[in-house]
Amino acid sequence: MSLTGRKAARYFIAIFLIITFNFAIPRSMPGDPLTNLLGEDVILSDSSVQELRSKMGLDKPLWQQYIEYWQSILRLDLGYSFHLHKPVSILLQDRMKWTLLLAGPALILGSALGAILGARAGWRSGSRREKVHTGILLAVYCTPPYFLSLISLYLFSFQLGLFPLKGLYSTGSAADIAHHLLLPAVMMTLFTLSRNYMIMRGSVLQEKSSLYAAFARAKGLYDEQILFRHIFRNALLPIITLLALDFGFILSGALFIEIVFSMNGMGSLIYDALLSRDYPVLQGSFLIITIMVVSANLLADLLYSRLDPRVKWE
């Protein structure tokens, strides 16, 4: 099989299995969309409940539901949520735009800063300054996100009154939205930064002792030049991997940040859907995430060979 053929086959099989998992996993949890929907005063054997059941498609045998699931995917129909009373595609659009707005800049900034600062730390490893930076960023990484976010909310929004206490916006203007999103975005940036910093540092440490670096030094290049002209590109590979992974998961959002700051993003959408067993929402969200992760990985694969000529796209 040719290279592209093999790769294509692999991706297709992976997607097929993933989509099947998307169907199976929500249904493996006890309960179904009707379990938590109607409240304690509704007798489950009532006729109106049975009607609802068939509207949701829950009374059909499992294999039939599976086939219909595939049919709707191929039709690009993501279904309807009976818990949120909206078509799933609209829900996803709504929530996705907020998650992208929040996590997108955070991810890019965090990765970039993390890569740069991490590279310098790796280069100057052992220096006092580097140790302090690493120590601080590691402490950030080690703190549970809920914890750090709640404390920053308390400090900046409550004590100092600089930021609003909750919500995506109050009045809906651009400045207002930015005001609401700033603190959560900073938190996310910090977490991404600390993670990328550590990886990059390790990677540069490895590259530092390589032959080509010594050669560059022998050529007479300054530190900065060796670092950023030669080492950086090669050391960047793990970061690219991480970025590709993160980009796919950007849509599952930062659940804890959304809870602390009372924001309606993808994270809370998926979490609520999990708890209420809202199958269409779960399936729809996981599908979108799948597509993004797989395409991001594909992109990363392509980038590898461009960045490091030692890796042949054979």
Binding site: M29, P30, G31, T35, N36, L38, G39, E40, D41, V42, I43, L44, S45, D46, S47, S48, V49, F82, H83, L84, H85, K86, W98, I116, L117, R120, L150, L153, Y154, S157, F158, G161, L162, F163, L165, K166, G167, L168, Y169, S170, T171, G172, A175, D176, A178, H179, L182, V186, E224, E258, I259, V260, F261, S262, N264, S268, D272, L275, S276, R277
Partner: protein, 528 residues
């Protein structure tokens, strides 16, 4: 490179500071606003499809009847109600001065439409199809409900359904799926102007056609918070003026902090719901009455009250029903007595033959029970495990999420569970908590484990009762039944604490909906 990094960082910081100052003071003042903070988050702007939205919508679409502070049922949209002697005909007169926010007058036709419509399309009102034969309007505008059997609680049920406008809803085929984030026409003192799901706010505006007592506010805002701590902070800071949680209290551990500021007062009421130990009566040894009685002596009630409710409540009686419910009977108080507990167990045949501290059941095997626990009840469950260990019963905790809990409890896959009853939960079915135990009904939070013919008969009698005296007798019977048979053991009766900013006075609380009722919003005003 380093220098440019620092420059970038300081630029970012500057931007942050500028932004924060820029957006302050951008508040629009449109008359007097009352802001209420609530942890009951709205998932969709559907009055019938979202239970939290439904509660808030009672302000714009009041119910036919209401529960007064003393627990009696009085008219709200209805002027008066009466029932025939045989209990099969109910008559409701409709108030004459109610207008929709679009100018139309509310007529008995709207009410008739509402109940027919709900019976058809709203699962929680599905019972009406089996009970109400016909709804007709007399010449004088009185609404007549003809039932096919006596049903004493019709007026109670009608304290929960919002009255809908015929001219708006008759064109909506599927009300459960209908969402409207814009204006919702209502006939209460306020109507829903808009619902902003992203910001988590419901905006109510004064109904320009309201003819009753004028409310002191021009608009009301409900701010929902996903995070309770943030809500507490917002309350303290003054971002919201009062707190409301449907069927819930302000967290007891946060009360002191509010009291310290000196700016808050509390509406304090006895809850008609309660937290209790549910037992799977279909399994050994829970099916053994002596076993249940022994457990009731093994629980350290004052400690649970102190640790879980921080003292805001009291030790319950074996009759389960709290004193705040109508027709309360003083049954025997539950008592913590380890010797008694051990004695009963011993006498009932549960002995520790191998001396390892754990009793063996009637089948000779060691007793090991499973607690099916929801996340909210982890702490009291931990305490219970300890109490049971002290009398020689081994138990373990199975920690599950809400849907799993419902599924496994319905399948009977548990021994013990700690759960609670809501105010409406206590009132539903045949009242006095019967809805939780009658094995003929399966709803989400109910245990439906009591398969006793005597109990079933009692429930049916209550539903068919035709006089207040009859109801009172039956109520006493139910409580005696609970006390004798202990189908569940109440853990404590608690107080519902609702904080509000001292500047706002005039709150009126009813047992069903707390401070969120029409009377409250008509009387509350800003006094400072």
């Amino acid at each position: 490179m380093r220098r440019s990094l620092y420059l970038l960082a300081s630029l970012l910081l500057l931007c942050m500071l500028m932004l924060s100052t820029a957006s302050m003071g951008a508040e629009e003042a449109t008359g007097e606003v009352l802001k209420i903070g609530s942890p009951n988050v709205i998932k969709s702007a559907s009055i019938l499809g979202d239970s939290n939205m439904g509660v808030f919508a009672h302000l714009s679409n009041p119910t036919l009847m209401k529960m007064a502070a003393d627990g009696t049922i009085k008219g709200l949209t209805a002027g008066s109600s009466e029932v025939s002697d045989d209990g099969k005909t109910w008559k409701f007169s409709i108030k004459d001065n109610l207008y929709w926010s679009d100018g139309e007058k509310l007529t008995p036709v709207d009410v008739q439409f509402t109940f027919n419509y709900l019976a058809e399309n709203y699962p929680a009102a599905g019972w009406m199809k089996n009970t109400v034969d016909n709804i007709s309007i007399q010449e004088d505008g009185t609404l007549v409900f003809s039932l096919n059997k006596p049903y004493s609680r019709l007026n109670l049920e009608f304290a929960t359904y919002p009255i809908l406008a015929k001219h708006i809803w008759e064109s909506i085929d599927d009300p459960m799926e209908y969402t409207n984030e814009g204006e919702n026409v209502g006939f209460g003192p306020f109507y829903i102007a808009s619902t902003d799901l992203g910001a988590g706010v419901i905006y109510f505006k004064k109904n320009p056609y309201w003819k009753g007592t004028a409310p002191k506010f021009d608009s009301i805002e409900i701010h929902t918070f996903a995070n309770m701590d943030v809500l507490s902070l917002a309350l303290e800071k003054g971002d919201v003026d009062a707190y409301y949680k449907y069927a819930g209290t302000y967290p007891y551990s946060s009360i002191d902090k509010l009291k310290e500021t000196g700016n808050f007062e509390f509406v304090e009421k006895d809850n008609i719901g309660l937290i209790f130990l549910g037992m799977n009566l279909m399994k050994e040894p829970m099916s053994d009455l002596s076993f249940r009685k022994a457990i009731s002596y093994a629980i350290n009630y004052s400690e649970i009250l102190k640790l879980d409710a921080l003292g805001y409540g009291k030790v319950p009686n074996s009759g389960f029903v709290p004193p705040s419910m109508m027709n309360f009977k003083e049954t025997a108080k539950l008592e913590y007595n380890l010797t008694q507990a051990k004695g009963i167990l011993d006498g009932a045949g549960y002995k520790d033959t191998n001396g390892n501290g754990i009793l063996e059941g009637k089948d000779g095997k060691e007793i090991k029970l499973t607690f099916l626990t929801r996340t909210d009840y982890q702490r009291p469950t931990e305490l219970m495990v300890d109490y049971l260990k002290a009398v020689g019963i081994d138990s373990e905790i199975k920690n599950v999420d809400s849907s799993t809990w419902i599924k496994q409890k319905d399948a009977g896959e548990y021994d013990l569970t700690i759960t609670r009853s809501t105010p409406w939960g206590m009132l539903m079915h045949a009242n006095w908590g019967t809805g939780y135990f009658d094995s003929r009904r399966t709803g989400e939070g109910v245990l439906h484990v009591l398969d006793d013919a005597k109990f079933h008969q009692l429930c049916d009698d209550i539903l068919a009762a035709t006089s207040e005296d009859q109801l009172k007798d039956y109520a006493y019977e139910v409580q005696d039944y609970y006390a004798e048979n202990l189908p569940a053991i109440p853990l404590y009766w608690n107080l519902v604490e609702t904080p509000y900013n001292k500047a706002f006075q005039g709150w009126y609380s009813d047992p069903l909906y707390g401070i969120f009722n029409v009377d409250s919003f008509l009387s509350v005003e800003k006094t400072q």
